[in-house]
C-alpha cells in the first residue's frame, strides 16, 4: 500500500472516530456528583491509603481528598478519573482558575476552573495542606 493512501486512511479514520464519538455525546467530561463518589474514585487509585474526607470543587471535576496518610487530589479524566497525592505539588493562579503542577510526567498538571471570587479561598486551603 502506498504511504499516501495509508496516511489518508489514518487521517480520515481519526477524524471519523473523533466526530462520531463527539456527536454521540461521548466527549462530555464526567463530574463527581458528591463527595462519596470522589472518595470512591480516590480509593480506586489508592486502596492502601483510603479517603477519610473529601472537599468537592465547584463543578465537580475534582476534589481535595484527606486520606489516612495525607492530602491528595482526585479529578476526572474524560469518563474516568485519576488521583495523585498533593505532596510536592505547586500551585499557580491562572486566568481560568487554579493550576496544580505535580512532579509527575504521567500527571503533569490539572487546572481547576474557578471563579475569581473562589480562587483565593481554594488557593489558601490547598496551600495549607502543602505546608
Amino acid at each position: 500500500m502506498p504511504l499516501w493512501l495509508l496516511a489518508t486512511i489514518v487521517v480520515v479514520g481519526l477524524a471519523a472516530v473523533a466526530l462520531l464519538t463527539h456527536l454521540l455525546g461521548w466527549s462530555r467530561a464526567r463530574a463527581f456528583v458528591d463527595e462519596a463518589e470522589a472518595m470512591r474514585a480516590w480509593d480506586r487509585e489508592f486502596s492502601a491509603d483510603p479517603a477519610r474526607r473529601a472537599d468537592l470543587l465547584p463543578g465537580g471535576h475534582a476534589a481535595v481528598v484527606h486520606s489516612v496518610r495525607g492530602t491528595g487530589l482526585v479529578w476526572t479524566m474524560g469518563l474516568d478519573s485519576t488521583a495523585r497525592p498533593l505532596e510536592g505539588a505547586r500551585l499557580q493562579q491562572t486566568r481560568r482558575g487554579l493550576t496544580i503542577r505535580f512532579p509527575d510526567m504521567a500527571a503533569p498538571s490539572v487546572t481547576l476552573p474557578l471563579d475569581p471570587s473562589e480562587r483565593d479561598d481554594w488557593h489558601r486551603r490547598l496551600q495549607e495542606t502543602l505546608t
Binding site: 481519526l14 472516530v17 462520531l20 474524560g78 469518563l79 474516568d80 485519576t82 490539572v110
Partner: protein, 313 residues
C-alpha cells in the same frame, strides 16, 4: 534462498481496523446503552489511535535496527528451513511462544514495561485500545528473544510476517462487545474474555494472561486467570495517567526510570534495580509491586482472599 518476501500485513489491515472501530462505535451506540457492550471516550480513543500511528512511524524510522540484527543472524546461521507452508505454521506457533515471553518480560522488568505500559494506559477497553502500541519497543532490546527462531532457520522476513499476523489477531480481542466464545475456543485461543483480564488493574487480574494468540502458554506456565463474572474488570494502570498527551503516554515511564536511577544517595545495586526490577519496586518500600498488591489483598477483606489470581505463589 535470497529473495524471501511477504506482504506487510499490518499496513494492509489498517483499513479493516478503521472499519471495525467505526462498526464497534455504532454497535455500542445502538445496543449498549447500559455500557455492557463497551465504552468510548473521544480523547481516549484519539490518544489510542495516535499511539498506533506513532507505532507505525517508529517502525519506519527504527525498524532497520531490528532488521539489521536479524539479517546478521541469518548470515551466520547454517540452518535454512525454507518456505513450505508448514514451516510458516510452525514459525507462527513458535513466534507466539516468543510473544508470550516478551510480553511477560514486559510486565516483570521495568525496562521493558517502560515501553509496554502505554498499551495498558487506557481506562477503556475497546478496539482502539488494541492500537495503543508502543513507540519505544526498539529500546527494550526484546528483538533478542527472536534470535533463536532465526538461528533455527526461519527467515527473518517470515518471522516478521507471522509477528504481524499475531498482532492482527490480537486486534479483535480488545472488545467488551463479545462475552464468551464456545468452550473449545476459550480453552485454546486468546479471547476477548481472557485478554480483558490481562488489561485489569484488579489485584487478582494483575500479571495474568500474557498470551498473544494461544492461551495455552499461560496455562502451561502458570499465569492463566479466568475472567470472574463476580469481579468486573477495572481497566487501566494501578496508578492511572493524568494526561491524554501521546508524547507523555509514550515516554513517561522512561523519564520515571531516569529520575529514579539518578536519585542521589543510592547504591549501584539500587540504581540497577530501579531499571530492571518489577514495576513498583522501590529501595525504601514506598511503592508496591504487583506481588505486594496481591499479598495485601489476600490479607485484607474476607471472602476476597481466595481464588485464581490471588493464590499464594
Amino acid at each position: 534462498m535470497t529473495d524471501v518476501s511477504y506482504p506487510d500485513v499490518v499496513t494492509l489491515a489498517v483499513p479493516l481496523f478503521v472499519a471495525a472501530i467505526l462498526a464497534e462505535i455504532v454497535w455500542i451506540a445502538v445496543r449498549g446503552r447500559d455500557g455492557h457492550a463497551g465504552r468510548y471516550e473521544t480523547r481516549d480513543a484519539l490518544t489510542s489511535l495516535l499511539m498506533g500511528t506513532g507505532n507505525v512511524v517508529s517502525g519506519l524510522l527504527l525498524g532497520f535496527i531490528a532488521w539489521g540484527f536479524f539479517m546478521m543472524l541469518w548470515q551466520i546461521t547454517p540452518l535454512d528451513l525454507g518456505t513450505a507452508w508448514w514451516v510458516v505454521v510452525l514459525c507462527f506457533v513458535l513466534d507466539d511462544l516468543r510473544y508470550y515471553w516478551v510480553h511477560r518480560f514486559g510486565h516483570r522488568i521495568r525496562w521493558v514495561w517502560a515501553s509496554h505500559v502505554n498499551h495498558h494506559s487506557s481506562q477503556h477497553y475497546n478496539l482502539t485500545t488494541a492500537l495503543r502500541q508502543t513507540w519505544t519497543g526498539t529500546f527494550t532490546f526484546m528483538m533478542i528473544v527472536r534470535a533463536p527462531l532465526i538461528l533455527l532457520g526461519f527467515h527473518p522476513a517470515m518471522v516478521l510476517f507471522v509477528g504481524g499476523l499475531n498482532l492482527i489477531y490480537q486486534f479483535w480481542i480488545h472488545t467488551e462487545a463479545i462475552g464468551r466464545l464456545p468452550r473449545w475456543v476459550e480453552a485454546v485461543m486468546n479471547t476477548p474474555s481472557h485478554h480483558r483480564v490481562h488489561h485489569g488493574r484488579n489485584a487478582r487480574y494483575l500479571d495474568a494472561n500474557y498470551a498473544g494468540v494461544f492461551i495455552v502458554w499461560d496455562k502451561l506456565f502458570g499465569t492463566f486467570v479466568a475472567e470472574d463474572d463476580r469481579e468486573k474488570v477495572d481497566y487501566g494502570l494501578v496508578h492511572n495517567l493524568g494526561t491524554f498527551n501521546p508524547l507523555r503516554v509514550a515516554f513517561h515511564e522512561w523519564v520515571a526510570i531516569f529520575r529514579d536511577v539518578t536519585r542521589p544517595g543510592l547504591t549501584l545495586r539500587q540504581r540497577l534495580m530501579y531499571a530492571v526490577a518489577p514495576p513498583g519496586w522501590s529501595h525504601d518500600g514506598s511503592r508496591e509491586t504487583s506481588d505486594q498488591i496481591k499479598a495485601r489483598h489476600r490479607a485484607a477483606p474476607p471472602g476476597d482472599a481466595e481464588g485464581p489470581g490471588l493464590a499464594r505463589p
